[in-house]
Amino acid sequence: MRKSLLALAAGLLLAGNVSAASAADKLKVGFIYLGPIGDLGWTYQHDLARQALVKELGEKIETTYLENVPEGPDAERSIEQLVRAGNKLIFTTSFGYMDPTQKVAKKYPNVHFEHATGYKRNPNMSTYSAKWYQGRYIQGLIAAKMSKSGVLGYIGSFPIPEVVSGINATMLAAQTINPNIKVKIIWANTWFDPGKEADAAKALIDQGADVIMQHTDSPAAMQIASERGKLAFGQDSEMIKFGPKTQLTSILDTWGPYYIERVKAELAGTWKSEDTWGGLDSHMFAMAPYTNMPDDVKKMAEDAQAAITAGKLHPFKCPIVGQDGKPVECKGGDHLDDGQILGMNFYVKGIDDKLPGK
């Protein structure tokens, strides 16, 4: 008996591969993910970008990620673990990692950090984000054309400026097509919870919405819209396989080029703390193919995309009237300036809902 146990143990040891390839000269790049890499949304897209990074620079770098890291007491430790494991450039890919990232960044001035969607920076901590509101504007145009009931359903995550500016951009666009368009908003209070997202989608459809848009990360809403024969927009990633007859388009997060650029800078020793906020023109995100719509709507969407990319059309073009009926100050000349959009804390006129916390 003892012998056979020993043999079993030996066999198990041999089965395990001993591939601790020495990688002392490679640059170590770390990633902190909010969800599982299989969330098919936000985290999935970050991991696709990491894979693109490995494909491009795999000879010179080694990547490590920690997934499912909650935006709570564990985040700081997880980030510090990556530092201690020798990572010299660390991407923390959710807003809620802002304070933990900054704490660790102050502690390790020789390590560089890249924080997604936040606003706090250090000499060794950059921020990066995308102007998704541009994509939301295009979606608003399509939604208003495609909705028969004139009611859009919107699943919000948290009422932070990024999400609020998305809702406003959607409505400003939709109002150019149908001045009486309505939007129903449900706050899921989560980025990723397929159950809650599905419930929200059901509730919105029950309230008469026939086009569903979401600012949460899973394809659950797409699946519900598909079951109920409604239309929907994907989020973060290509979700067409969850609604082949449902998805109109989707805002695709395409972080790959940015990650490659930043890692190249790190390799070249030219990395600097920066604030990157890229739009359609800088390929920080892309639009999935326009599907399940007539050709004229598709044409309109493509024209709008081209105009925004060329800088000829700004979603927050003045004049903009707030929910209270008063005009919003126009700090950027003929449109709102970046600061107003990054700190957006109001609804535009025509949104029949109260912004939480207002």
Binding site: G16, E71, P73, R77, G96, P356
Partner: protein, 363 residues
Amino acid sequence: MQLVLEKRAERSGTIALVSPLIAIGLTILTMVILFAILGKNPLLALHAYFIAPLTDGYSLQEIAVKATPLVMIAIGLSLCYLANAWNIGAEGQFLIGAVAGSWIAVKTQGTDAGAWVLPAMLVLAAAAGALYALIPAICKVKFGASEILTSLMLVYVADLFLDYLVRGPWRDPHGFNFPTTAEFDPVATVPLLIEGGRLHLGSIIALLVVAAAAILLGRTIKGFEIRVVGAAPRAARFGGFNANQLIILTFAVSGALAGLAGIIEVAGPIGHLQPGISPGYGFTAIIVAFLGRLNPFGILIAGLFLALTFIGGEQAQIAMKIPLDVTKVFQGILLFYVLACDSLILYRFKLVFPNRQVTRGAG
């Protein structure tokens, strides 16, 4: 031939001592097989899990930080469970304690309030946790409501209450609408024990709690009462012990400890109030309480061990790309084996041969 479980004449003291060790041994064996299936070297993986975190000061600190709330909550729960009172809602008491203590921190923010702030936060948090735990205790004593259900349901109430506060009245005005309070002032923050580290005063408090519980259970009449009421309710009644009073008392103490753990976590490692301050500490502490055999020192060791699996799991994820889910599987099978091995305290394995004629004598 058949393998059956046979009830022992009396509980086996030896097995009671070694069963956690058998459980850990079986868990490690299962993990070795799991690692091998995943194509990872089991020895390296076990090293990353159990040895590497113990070899440097940084991860030792992190283990202590992680174990602090678990141990504090589990000590309180063990008192309840010993007295046969089933508090499942420590998570809620943890949250309410965090909320109550944060109230002082939020209200004194930016003022020149002095050194009284943190002690006041700790006291208020413990009081709030105790009061919150008294709701299910009183419902149980007065109306016979199941404390398991009521204490569990109150977790969600606490969770949503915290959610409301940080989205509404307590929201950081400069936080871009993100659901969090502003960072607490230094006077409202649990002091660090080591400059530049993360080990904080809470770990010392947890050790004091362990010592106090050991004295309470081992050296006082009250401790004796708790154990008798749980182990032999009839004898306790004949002895004139009031079981209802003990339910109230143990619930209040465990609520206070959970509340204290809550504010220490918020005013310590986190630094502000936000949703998701607890990755399920109140529930994990139930595992810790039983893994530690409801004994204060056992709980201390169990809390440190569970913290080790968290930290080790993270290091294994970094060093060997072992998925996080494996750590969760690991904790699950550990609890499974602990409970399974515990049955050996009251039962033993026996081989029986039902169909064979046993012949004796000349053959």
